[in-house]
């Protein structure tokens, strides 16, 4: 078997383990599905009248607008949960055993990220299904839904890279878990939940420069309107930026982990 095929098998096996781990532990699964679904429901029901505000973009309903926000929340928490699970593996010595195995070290991180990406894919499909079930239309049709799914999956993997880097660096599940509030801060300071033009200062100014705003708009655009190439491009650039950041951080953290054991 070629080296590439072996690496792919390792990544697949570790990715599957990561997915099974998440589905077996409710404390890992709840933040990915339960909380974002709950928040989607109460925000749609509670702030649904916002669509009547002057300046609100034309949408079929607030649920249609909010789907992107729910997906963003879910994918970021998937990245955080992946980081927590990775840190637990480090604490329990499982990662040490993997380091001792005759496999490239990057496949260990990539396996975890494959699992996180799969959870991102699952969350995108989950929220699209919820949207359709409760009457939201995907304005750009199947192609638009596919764009949203791909963006969510890619962002989950990118964010998971940052979670994995922190897990490798600290080796502590509680430290990674402590980032949970930060996820909420990043989301609230983006246009994930409300149109940028209607946000209140200083949140509005911060959201204008927050890369997650570009990703949220990229995911939302095909759901509420025709596909806009500019929105899509900005979203892809923002994801690429997070991928580069997570690669640099992960590589450094991996070297650190191998040095300290």
């Amino acid at each position: 078997m070629s080296g590439m095929a072996t690496n792919l098998r390792v990544v697949r096996a570790l990715g599957m383990r990561s997915i099974r781990q998440t589905f077996r532990r409710p404390q890992l699964m709840a933040p990915i599905l339960v909380f974002p679904t709950l928040l989607l429901a109460v925000q749609t029901g509670g702030a649904g009248s916002a669509v009547d505000l002057p300046g609100f973009p034309p949408v079929q309903g607030f649920l249609q607008f909010m789907l992107a926000g729910a997906m963003m929340q879910s994918l970021m928490l998937a990245g955080n949960s992946g980081g927590i699970a990775f840190a637990v593996d480090i604490e329990m010595g499982f990662t040490d055993r993997l380091f001792a195995a005759p496999i490239p070290r990057f496949t260990i991180v990539l396996g975890r990220l494959a699992g996180t990406a799969a959870l991102g894919l699952f969350s995108a499909l989950w929220f699209l299904a919820i949207g359709l079930l409760f009457g939201a239309e995907i304005h750009s049709g199947v192609a638009g839904a596919l764009i949203a799914v791909v963006l969510v999956t890619a962002t989950a993997m990118a964010v998971g890279g940052i979670g994995a880097a922190i897990a490798l660096r600290t080796g502590s599940a509680s430290v990674v878990q402590g980032l949970f509030p930060l996820v909420l801060v990043v989301l609230f300071l983006s246009s994930a939940f409300f149109p940028l033009d209607l946000m209140i200062q200083p949140a509005k100014t911060i959201a204008e420069y927050n890369p997650f705003s570009f990703i949220a708009e990229g995911i939302r655009n095909p759901i509420i309107a025709e596909v806009d190439a500019t929105d899509l491009l900005y979203a892809l650039l923002a994801i690429a930026g997070i991928v580069v950041l997570s690669l640099v951080l992960s590589a450094r953290a991996l070297r650190h982990r191998l040095r300290v054991g």
Partner: protein
């Protein structure tokens, strides 16, 4: 032993509750970092909801000047919900480590053991509430008056007790910290399926229906009254009755689970 035996029963019970509360206080003092998520989460929600949904006050029917005033009691009660649920998580941890088994073989009545947990949560909930309130005032939330603040804090303390009963019942039922998401999600649902985001008339029909039957709507309205207008007995007693009802029901459930665990 002799000294304890000489105590009248009610004093022994009070001493046990005080000891359990002192243990919770020591936990807080020795691991202050553990309290940070409970303080941060409602604060972030307050700042986030305000930054994101602040423009809702421009809607017809939203008769509150500042969204900060409207949402600050929600965040204070959310903090109480988180703190109470965290008491349930701590109880689950104590069960996993065998500490609860030792408590259950003691001669202390079950309700006393539960009261220690619940009252600790009530006292602890004042920390995130005060933190959120201190942040909200300079950001534009209205001063609720001494009477308004008193009512809000009363609601916060009682809400934390309700959440602690809920969390304890689940902890005793599942005997695992894995039930933590259920404890948190239950409280989150209870607090947010109310007039948390907007007045009743502006809610979507399904949420309006849920909010009308959700007893916590009355609690939020009672806690909010000082921030958005005047405090009155008519605005206070429905919230107090709702909390009392929730306390009786969830407290009875938690006590039943504790007795079942002891068997």
């Amino acid at each position: 032993m002799d000294r304890a035996a000489a105590l009248p029963e009610w004093r022994a019970n009070l001493a046990t509750i005080a000891a359990l509360m002192a243990r919770a206080k020591n936990e807080l003092l020795r691991v202050p970092g553990a309290a940070i998520p409970g303080v941060l989460a409602p604060t972030i929600f307050f700042l986030g909801l305000n930054g994101v949904f602040g423009a809702l006050t421009q809607l017809n029917g939203f008769e509150v000047g500042a969204y900060e005033s409207f949402v600050v009691p929600v965040s204070m009660l959310q903090g109480a919900g988180f703190t109470g649920a965290a008491a349930g998580v701590n109880l689950a941890r104590d069960m996993e480590q065998g500490w609860v088994d030792r408590l259950l073989v003691s001669p202390a009545p079950r309700w006393v053991l539960l009261a220690g947990t619940v009252l600790s949560a009530s006292a602890r909930a004042l920390i995130p509430a005060t933190f959120v309130f201190a942040i909200a005032l300079p950001l534009g939330a209205g001063w609720p008056g001494i009477d308004g603040l008193f009512v809000t804090y009363l609601m916060v303390a009682a809400m934390a007790a309700v959440a602690a009963c809920w969390g304890s019942a689940l902890a005793l039922r599942f005997k695992s910290q894995s039930a933590a998401p259920l404890m948190q999600a239950g409280m989150m649902a209870l607090v947010f399926t109310t007039t948390a985001y907007a007045p009743l008339a502006l809610l979507q029909p399904w949420l309006r229906t849920v909010a009308e039957v959700n007893p916590v709507t009355e609690v939020i309205e009672a806690a909010r009254q000082g921030f958005v207008g005047g405090v009155s007995w008519a605005g206070t007693w429905p919230g107090a009755v709702a909390l009392l009802g929730l306390l009786v029901v969830l407290g009875a459930w938690a006590l039943r689970e504790m007795r079942r665990t002891a068997r």
